[in-house]
């Protein structure tokens, strides 16, 4: 019996990289499920050297989902980028659901999975950030993506540089810029 999910995902990933936008729509739910499942496993393991980091989580999702013989490192980076977007979507969705708590409480309960509850230090209004990021993407898709990769997927500057095939310096510059702009945007929505 063959595991049918692997070729599917790899195929979708390859198709997406090849420019098939529809492939992303098919791919996302599969990756989403896998991210949730892996998050759950991470939590179950509880060994001191395993901490719940999105990078590791996404890495593992990639290894599980994608047939590594058929994809290259760029595919992996695509996968990271996609996962960052997924994380953003997951987290913002939950933040939106919990919106009633948002302004008053300092934490938001987010459920990645029905068995894994995660509390987010809610220093940031995720819904507003998400909206601002979308506006930012209209001016600079790259800056928006850098924020996504760094803030939602936990990638380092070097990993982002590798993923986006840009210099680390550009990553830093864009990050500083985007962060200042987002901060101002969020501050103005708060007022």
């Amino acid at each position: 019996m063959t595991d049918r999910s692997k070729p599917d995902i790899t195929q979708l990933l390859l198709a997406w990289r090849a420019g098939e936008q529809g492939a992303l729509d098919d791919l996302m739910p599969l990756v989403l499920n896998e991210l949730r499942r892996i998050a759950r496993n991470f939590m179950r393991r509880q060994s001191p050297d395993h901490t719940l980091q999105t990078t590791a989580l996404v890495n593992e999702a990639f290894l599980r989902l994608v047939d590594s013989n058929r994809v290259n490192w760029q595919d992996r980076n695509h996968f990271f980028a996609m996962s960052a977007r997924l994380m953003r979507r997951i987290l913002v969705d939950f933040a939106r659901k919990k919106n009633s708590l948002k302004r008053g409480g300092d934490k938001v309960l987010v459920t990645l999975d029905d068995r894994a509850e995660i509390a987010i230090e809610k220093q940031t209004d995720l819904v507003a950030l998400d909206e601002a990021l979308s506006r930012l993407a209209a001016m600079s898709p790259r800056q928006s993506q850098i924020v996504e990769l760094r803030y939602f997927a936990g990638l380092t500057e070097e990993q982002i540089a590798e993923t986006l095939e840009i210099s680390a310096r550009t990553v830093r510059r864009d990050w500083n810029m985007a962060r200042a702009w987002l901060f101002r945007e969020l501050k103005s929505t708060d007022d």
């Binding site: 939590m43 901490t51 980091q53 999105t54 509850e117 220093q123 940031t124 962060r179 987002l182 901060f183």
Partner: protein
């Protein structure tokens, strides 16, 4: 902004960001001279950049944490959580938050502690957690907050515990430390609780004032038993799961180290001796108000803990007994090996000091010991009185009768207040000024001591040290409260000696030899009344100053018994109770004789009920007598109008009172209150080692009855109000079936498990009621004239037998379980009877006359005469063994351990074997499960405490 403009802004922003403010302005002037919009944008972004702090700098996901604490505790208020409704947050301990919650299944309030979801996901942890919580749940001690359950709700592990209303020890400790009596009261209990846990292998691990609650009634309770380890694991697990390592410092001490043992602070393995150290720290702080190891930081505290010895307790509070100071030092030895080794030892030292310093602590007195003192002159009284008390559980026929005539002196609206807690009181008398009480206690090794204390003050002064004597005849106290008169006697003596002792202490003065009972002092305080049994029975008086000038006031033939002679309020008469035998039956009366001699007058005519003691009200307002209640057989208090002989109840409850004393104002009565503390024990029939206690509070009244599915319906005495409860013996979970405004007692379950039949006075008169096993559909079963009580279900399960008392006669009633008309039958004997399971024969008790013991008759149901008489005098437990070939019973007296043993006797061969032993508890009732394999037993102890009945402000 267009992407192009944005790109420009981004470039300039990067360039300008690295410049200092003066250069920035010049740079922007140069670069954006033609584009003020871009310049404004850049300046705005620069400002945002410098304000942004750590905004989104830390990736969101590494910030993810398990919800160690709920985000907002109060937001859960009113929330349903499984079958619990959260009422409010009551704090957080360790990793969990604690809520006050209502258990809707059992309708009781619990402290509900949530633990992080982490535990639900680690199977090995979950198992350990369960085991530890189970060990904690196995602790059953009045000073331990009981762990009720460990369960998973919405995948969150949850512990529910007894909810203790009160405040923690740290809040109860004044700055200068506790007074010694409170300290001893609390820490004797607490050390007993820890000893109990240690005996069961449960180490607390987090003994600290914050884990000790002082309940509203003053009972100290230790919380969170055995849960500390779970908390520590929780913290570790959560920290391991968190990315931000800055919150996890290896070896970090969780909570305050101020109460930790050195080995615990060093992270070594710990055992019970760690608890002993922590207990020492808590004791030190409680008595001195100062923490032995302190510091500005945790590190400093730990350093002090490991290296320094605190100042001696005796330096801080020199008045503390040296043995206490020494005990605390022995607990605080740094090396576990050098420390005092067991909590038992700590407890026994505290108990000892408690005994010598303040109050007696012996709780395991035997009945026999107690009764000898009350009734020193007649051995049969010993038995008779003992019976009365045991009957407390049997009687049950009685509950708050409606009051009758209005008394000349109103004792309405009396408040009942317990003045002692140790359960070891013999006599308790109030001083005439109403301010102090004098009482005798049972001390270890059967010794007796005497104490005085202010009503409002727990501190008691020891008037007489523990000694190997018996106190006879109560106490008499001079009007100004300065002298206390009493009689002591050797255990086997025929007579005792009358003494007086100053209420300030000092050596007692011997006044009169060869006395048997003590009465009252004359209104002027010059003389005292007492009784002497000799060739004649005499009531005499002598001078209170030195015992001289002995005068005889009354004489009767030897064999007569007179009790408790009291002067009338004008000093011209003497009142006393008197026993005369008619045939061999005792009849009691209340008599008045003039002091100057003359014929006696009967105030209360002869009756079977004992008139135990008297107290005379001032101003001719009559007498308060302690008299046996004809219904319940409990000793109750009555007011007697001496002119008319009208008797009015003062008390009307299910307590038994011993002795009576009254303040000269007549508004405060002090007496000794005796009660049974009963539990239900369940085990394999015939294997008494297998029995274990299944109730959590010793408030079982008298009856435990199995349901066909292995639950137990029983009655509980809650603040003197009986209610019917249902218990699941496996879990110990119980709930009340009768609504709080509709009490009931004596429940019996029908064999088909449809109903329970019980007695209730909810209509004002004792009647039999029926309800479903869940408490629903209560129905008045005996809609008959007169009282119906002591319901017993017939072996066929279709009818209920009951005792039917009408004004003119008493008979046995039979009524169908499903309702209908009652049929009247003659009684099967006067007291106990039992039908065989096939319904073919009855065993019943024939009361003996006078001193003759009762016997048991066996009679076939369709024959008029017994076919066999057995020489057994049973009390309380009396039933056929399964198979109808033997009787199971408890003896009234005699034999080995009569109060704690059940016997089984073959009705043909008369062979007797022991059936059950409840040692050291007394046994009051049993019920066998349908298959006979399991037995539920009501077992308990009797405790006596001083109580005060006083009038609240006039309600008019």
């Amino acid at each position: 902004m267009s992407p192009q403009d944005w790109e420009k802004v981004s470039e300039l922003f990067e360039a300008v960001e690295g410049l200092g403010p003066p250069e920035r302005a010049a740079f922007l002037d140069r670069e954006c001279g033609d584009s003020p919009e871009i310049r404004r944008e850049i300046e705005s972004l620069l400002a945002a950049h410098s304000d942004a702090g750590d905004f989104i700098n830390v990736p969101i996901v590494p910030d993810l944490q398990f919800p160690a604490r709920e985000n907002n505790a109060n937001s859960l208020a009113g929330a349903r959580f499984g079958h619990y409704v959260i009422e409010r947050s009551i704090g957080s301990g360790g990793m969990g938050d604690v809520y006050l919650a209502l258990d809707t299944r059992l309708n009781r309030r619990v402290a509900l502690k949530t633990l992080p979801g982490v535990f639900a996901r680690d199977p090995s942890f979950a198992k350990r957690f369960r085991n530890e919580a189970k060990a904690a749940a196995g602790l059953n001690h009045p000073n331990v907050a009981t762990v009720y359950s460990v369960e998973k709700i919405n995948n969150r592990p949850v512990i529910t515990m007894e909810y203790v209303e009160g405040s923690t020890l740290d809040h109860e400790t004044p700055d200068q430390g506790l007074d010694i009596v409170t300290f001893l009261d609390w820490f004797t209990c607490l050390s007993d609780a820890l000893a109990h846990a240690h005996e069961r292998g449960v180490v607390h691990r987090d003994v600290k004032p914050g884990n000790i609650m002082i309940a509203k009634d003053g009972t100290p309770k230790i919380l969170d038993f055995g849960l500390a380890r779970i908390d520590v694991r929780a913290v570790q697990a959560v920290r391991q799961s968190a990315v931000d390592q800055s919150i996890t410092q290896p070896g970090q001490v969780i909570g305050t180290p101020a109460y930790m043992s050195p080995e615990q602070a060093e992270g070594k393995d710990i055992d019970i001796r760690s608890d002993i150290f922590s207990f020492g720290v808590v004791m030190y702080e409680a008595i001195t108000g100062v923490r032995p190891f302190s510091g500005d930081s945790h590190a400093e505290v730990v350093s002090n803990l490991l290296r320094t010895d605190p100042p001696l307790v005796s330096k801080l509070r020199p008045e503390i007994p040296a043995s206490i100071a020494r005990l605390i030092s022995r607990c605080l030895v740094k090396s576990p090996r050098g420390r005092i080794q067991s909590m038992d030892e700590v407890n026994s030292i505290l108990s000892e000091v408690w005994t010598t310093f303040s109050r007696g602590s012996s709780r395991n007195h035997s009945l026999r010991r107690l009764y000898r003192e009350f009734h020193p002159t007649s051995p049969k009284w010993i038995v008779a009185t003992a019976l009365l008390v045991i009957v407390a559980a049997v009687g049950a026929n009685y509950y708050f009768n409606s009051t009758r005539a209005t008394p000349a002196v109103s004792f309405a609206d009396l408040t009942f207040r317990r003045l002692s807690q140790a359960g070891d009181v013999v006599y308790a008398h109030i001083t005439p000024d109403g301010r102090s009480i004098v009482f005798n206690t049972i001390e270890p090794d059967e010794k007796r001591a005497m104490w005085i204390r202010r009503v409002e003050d727990k501190n008691a002064l020891q008037l007489l040290p523990p000694q190997q004597v018996a106190f006879w005849g109560g106490l008499a106290i001079s009007a100004d409260g300065s002298d206390v008169f009493y009689i002591t006697a050797d255990w086997s003596a025929r007579h005792g000696t009358l003494y007086k002792v100053s209420s300030l202490g000092g050596a007692p003065r011997r006044l009169v030899d060869t006395v048997n009972d003590l009465g009252s002092l004359s209104p002027d305080g010059e003389r005292m009344l007492y009784v002497r049994y000799g060739p004649q029975v005499q009531i005499l008086s002598a001078k209170t100053s030195d015992g001289s000038d002995e005068t005889v006031h009354y004489s009767a033939a030897a064999g007569t018994i007179v009790r408790d002679p009291h002067y009338s309020s004008d000093g011209r008469q003497i009142y006393f109770s008197k026993v005369e035998n008619v045939g061999r039956i005792e009849y009691w009366s209340l008599i008045e004789v003039p002091l100057t001699g003359g014929s006696e007058r009967t105030i209360l005519p002869q009756r079977r009920e004992r008139i135990n003691e008297l107290a005379v009200l001032t101003g001719g307002r009559g007498i308060v007598v302690n008299q046996e209640d004809p219904n319940s057989r409990f000793n109750q208090l009555y007011h007697v109008d001496t002119a008319t002989g009208t008797e009015t109840r003062v008390t009307n409850d299910l307590n038994s009172y011993f002795g009576v004393s009254i303040s000269s104002q007549g508004d405060q009565i002090v007496t000794a209150h005796r009660q049974s503390l009963n539990d239900i024990w369940v085990g394999e029939t015939g294997n008494h080692a297998s029995f274990r206690k299944v109730t959590r509070e010793p408030n079982v009244f008298e009856i435990a009855s199995w349901t066909p599915d292995g639950r137990i319906i029983y009655d509980v005495l809650d603040n003197n109000v009986p209610h019917i409860w249902m218990l699941e013996p496996e879990s110990g979970v119980s709930r009340q079936l009768t609504p709080s405004d509709s009490p009931g007692f004596g429940p019996r379950v029908t064999p088909d498990g449809r109903y329970t039949i019980f007695t209730s006075e909810r209509t004002g008169e004792r009647k039999l009621w029926r309800m479903n096993l869940d408490g629903s559909e209560p129905v008045l079963l005996t809609n008959v004239e007169g009282e119906a009580f002591s319901g017993r279900i017939a072996p066929d399960g279709r009818n209920v037998y009951f005792r039917w008392r009408r004004a003119d006669r008493e008979s046995l009633g039979v009524i169908p379980v499903d309702g209908g008309d009652a049929t009247e039958l003659p009684l099967f004997g006067e007291t106990y009877w039992a039908l065989s399971s096939d319904g073919s024969q009855v065993a019943y008790v024939i009361r003996g006359t006078g001193n003759e013991p009762a016997k048991v008759a066996l009679r076939r149901i369709n024959e008029a005469e017994p076919y066999r008489i057995l020489d057994i005098d049973p009390i309380h437990v009396f039933r056929w063994a399964p198979g109808d070939k033997a009787l199971i019973y408890r003896l009234r007296e005699g034999g080995v351990d009569p109060f704690t043993t059940l016997w089984i006797q073959d009705t043909e061969s008369d062979e007797v074997k022991m059936f059950h032993s409840s040692k050291p508890n007394n046994i009051f009732n049993i019920d066998l499960s349908a298959d006979g394999k399991r037995m539920a037993a009501v077992q308990g102890k009797i405790v006596t405490d001083a109580v005060m009945l006083s009038k609240v402000a006039n309600s008019k």
